[in-house]
Symmetry: D2
Subunit: 369 residues, 4 copies
């Protein structure tokens, strides 16, 4: 009888609990294995005190529940773990401890659900000998090696419903309404949530935009008798040079990175700067809504519940076949797997020439370019 571990890493995301459920069910029902729940991503292998066995009863009701019962963190890289003591912060390497503890727990395999950061750590730990299988999850959908990641479809629902709500407000008040969506590296949420909620302008990191194009789109709608405009904005957009403060124009720094909604900084972020610019050049009242963390939570959609179950079962199957160092994935619409090193690479970004962008343009969406 094998013992396997399951943990969840990176930002939280709908469907993590469903993966845990699927792994536990497939391991116990199908194979008769024992499953250990590792708490708080790799922290639970550095300090394994809270590791607990997960039985069928422990995963009852998890399919529809957002979040992760195992906890998660997007801070604990065991190769350079930030610890602060006596006012000094140090980066410590706990990776050997992770390997030792996995061994001490008797793990014959560890399934880790995570995003790109987590997959990079998995890749390194796999090279040190840890028997790992990855499950791709991130609402941003930007993980390399898979056509879709767990959580994206649910995030689209939340974002689309929010934009639908804002739509009636925009229409009633004849405003420009901007909605800032998650996506630092890639504009998938802004693109698909924008497309599915009828956004008139979609701004994503992959397509540089000019203010005048947005102004033209707003005014063209005005002329056509539509007195409002919806602008879907990915948080990771780069402002055009004209909108950058002089001290930033020469640099590579992106304002969006300076002032996230979660940060205490009060520097203007890209969306705020752009709001002023749009209001200024169109003369139309312009408002911003930042969807923020609501995009990460909630009960998963049917697609994500089915996908997490398929991913969980596929991950257990890889462990059963002793195929480690892999990540389960979707390729050509089918469940498959790739070397975890692929997922640890550059994020998958929106190709500005891709079919989805062309479809959006064909239905009149302005990308500001």
């Amino acid at each position: 009888m094998r013992t396997i571990g399951i943990s969840t890493g990176g930002g939280d995301c709908p469907g993590l609990n469903a993966v845990i459920r699927a792994v536990v069910k497939a391991a116990i029902v199908n194979h008769g294995w024992r499953v250990l729940g590792i708490e708080d991503s790799f922290d639970g292998l550095i300090w394994p005190e809270k590791t607990r066995e997960l039985k069928l009863d422990d995963v009852s009701g998890l399919l529809s529940r957002g979040g992760t019962i195992l906890g998660t963190t997007n801070r604990g890289n065991p190769f350079k773990y930030k610890l602060t003591a006596d006012g000094k912060t140090q980066d410590l390497d706990y990776s050997d401890q992770v390997i030792r503890n996995a061994d001490a727990l008797g793990l014959n395999g560890l399934i880790v659900a995570g995003g790109d950061g987590t997959m990079r750590i998995c890749h390194e730990l796999a090279r040190k000998g840890l028997k790992l299988v990855g499950v791709p999850k991130t609402i941003d959908n930007d993980l390399a090696g898979t056509e879709i990641t767990l959580g994206f479809d649910t995030a689209l629902h939340t974002a689309m419903e929010a934009i639908d709500r804002i739509h009636s407000s925009a229409e009633s008040h004849h405003r420009v309404m901007m909605v800032e969506l998650m996506g630092r590296e890639a504009g998938w949420i802004a693109l698909e949530a924008g497309l599915s909620s009828g956004a008139d302008v979609i701004l994503i990191p992959e397509i540089p935009f000019k203010l005048e194009k947005i102004r033209d789109a707003v005014l063209a709608r005005e002329e056509a008798g539509k007195r409002f405009t919806i602008v879907a904005v990915a948080e990771g957009i780069s402002l055009p040079n004209e909108l950058l403060a002089p001290e930033l124009q020469a640099s590579e720094v992106r304002p969006a990175a300076l002032a996230s909604s979660s940060s205490s900084s009060v520097a203007k972020n890209a969306t705020v700067v752009l709001r002023e610019a749009i209001e200024g050049c169109t003369g139309k009242e312009t408002r911003v809504t930042v969807l923020g963390h609501t995009q990460r939570g909630g009960a998963p959609s049917p697609y994500d519940r089915v996908l997490s179950t398929r991913f969980g079962v596929a991950a257990v199957d890889l462990v059963a076949r002793n195929e480690f160092g892999k990540m389960v994935c979707v390729q050509q619409g089918q469940i498959s797997n790739v070397d975890i090193g692929v997922a640890a690479g550059q994020p998958r970004r929106v190709d500005p020439q891709c079919e989805l962008v062309r479809v959006a343009r064909s239905t009149g969406v302005c990308f500001g370019d």
Copy 2:
């Protein structure tokens, strides 16, 4: 400047309005064409009085709206149109009239969104020379030639949310709760809605079942301390011989076909017969809920809104390239197209050996076999 037509056929389905919107937008914005809305499927080409031009303003707000502004019907096959006069019902062939009227309206192309019945008619009309492009839609997801049809994802949402609701009832009352889902030929909705809502038993037309297996599943849950069971049932299941009335045992007739929820017949349908049988053999109070037409309506999900936009644009692209007699589709996860004859063939049914069924079994789902 071309003139194209758009119509919607078969049972209604979320995303039809979004297809109409995408076709109109892509035709006008991208090509500068003129679009005619054909009413009530092919009826609108037999009697084209209500045909009207669709401009950009006419499709404003359609993305999120269920149903179809063009109307639909699943009764009007122009090759054998049932007309009743003087108490006599006749099958009339109006196909030539369809061709003539399409010509008279100046159509350089006709885009038809429909299911298998509609695609069969399209196939025959294409052979008579009508310049057709099909768009696959049916909540049942059983159209040949495409991996997914428009409307399926939204139907899953509706079904999953309903089963989630029934779940709390089942649990509180310690009952067996059966939920009858759409799917006469294929069990896709029952399979995926069941999987995504944690159904314990899933019964589909493609996998013959035995009553004793269901009983065993219910009793095994009881022993494990779970005092309720959720059974997802496709409306098209065949009852095992033991449950058929003597007069039906020798025949090919499926009881489900005798007494749909929409029929006035009071013959017991398969689900009702099965309910009695389960209650009888388990001793547990057993209830049925028939989701019925709620599965067909409502605002489309983000997936279906994006898919209908992609399908609509792809259909216009086919018309622009004069590629007629085709249906747009999803193959290997990508937008593509197939000969419309493929879609007119046998419905795409669930392969009992497919990955999804295996995944369900791996997480403990009982298929009654």
Copy 3:
């Protein structure tokens, strides 16, 4: 330190878990009491083996969860408990045992959430000396003594969303769509769900209807260019004489009571009979959807979550003041309480002259009278 009990009786209903949470929190946080969870309504006082203490941790997360963790039943009246042994069914009186066990458990008060059936039992047990406080819950909203019951608002949501979905289907197919809603004695759900979803015809037990009035309403819409009609039907309607089978015309028997959706009977229920009649006299395709158990489940609405918390706290306050034999309630929009005997009386039915019915008529709703 007091010990109090909490139990849930009757059909399940959104908000029961939220009541349990509020009672446990208020008793522990506010008073430092001990709370016992009584299982399966009064069954748990007849056979108290599964009674367990409920601590704060046990009610964590219950606010948003449908159903009841304590289980419920609408069958176990302790004054005439149906038991079947050796093929013989007997009505046994377990009421003394209930009193004895409440005493043995050391209960200084028992809070019972339930509908009219449960309140009747509470009333009798209170007269036998049990220190009871009732909490009114039923999706039907027909409990005497309170302006609103727990669960009604959530049931309206479920029903309204379902009718909204059916609306697009009706419109696309130019059909008459009938939706059967819960309500055997009173038409509250049909009235308010119908009103909130724009139903054209609303049929409730309190207002006798004539078929010709429904026909006129359907045809008037047809003439006004609306090719569909939505009919909201309470399950408890009485058919007009003209539609009753001869053998029923002389009797008091209501067909709806003969064939509920949960029964195995295949006698035509009132909705099915009416469907045929409407199709017959209007010539329009007419379909029925029975919402059934979906109306009872699911996460409670904000109104029901707040109401259950208020009710739970108010019930604990009554126990603290030793005011037993009462039910908490809403009167003139405020939380109050009444003698439990009031709630045990006749159900609260829709007054055909009330403001809500007049409002519906003023906006063009047809009640068939």
Copy 4:
């Protein structure tokens, strides 16, 4: 035959379209009157060019649609209308023009749905002789003279669902999650959305709070094994002195008013300041989500659909009885009406001693006091 007008003023709000529908239906169906739709609040009486008749067809489908087809604005006070010309901004008095135009349009009555600002204007216009009836709407629920305003219940849904989503994120990441809700003057949304989503801390303008009480609540949860805390914050809270910048401590200025989410200002708003303070004193990662405009939009809840229909019909009834200068309202749970001057008074704020606040405290909610 009378002619009446209907307009919508102030911030947009779910249920406005449903009021328009009810007014039009009741006026036409019940009385045979003519209804004029006045655009953009009082702007449409200053410049009545776009006034149009509303017939039954124009209000079809409006019951479920958010926003207002008549447009709205919260800027155009006809008594001091801000106009900017040649770089100079002037306050102009257009009130006589409003009276004249109402007369010229032949209005025998004007129904205005609005919040406190709109009711103040109505009150003054009524004194100048305009025959007005008000309908109370604001998601903030803080209008004097009515127990509930249109839009509040729907806003609670949106807020509660968002907090439910954030809940799973908070739990997975062991964070303090703050959610900023609308409510500048009154904390109704924060109070009821907080109560209905199980917030641990609720901060409202009516109850001054101390940072140390929040810290204690967070740490007490930590000790009880709950590693996260949800804080619902009304946007209108006043920071305690200790958290104000020195230059603000002596003044009356509230930081929240300085930097709304819609403003371009980058001054720290109260929520941002508080976030830093909570993170600082608890040592726990603390994040903010600002729900913003999503609270104003979307399809109305069943409660709001029924309420807007009742309000609309009641307003038409007042016009029919020539009772002007009144606002329809809810009092003691019943539809009633009050002098519009009442509604024009001080906003209705949360009484810190009221039953709802006591209920929240009884279930362990911390108000920071």
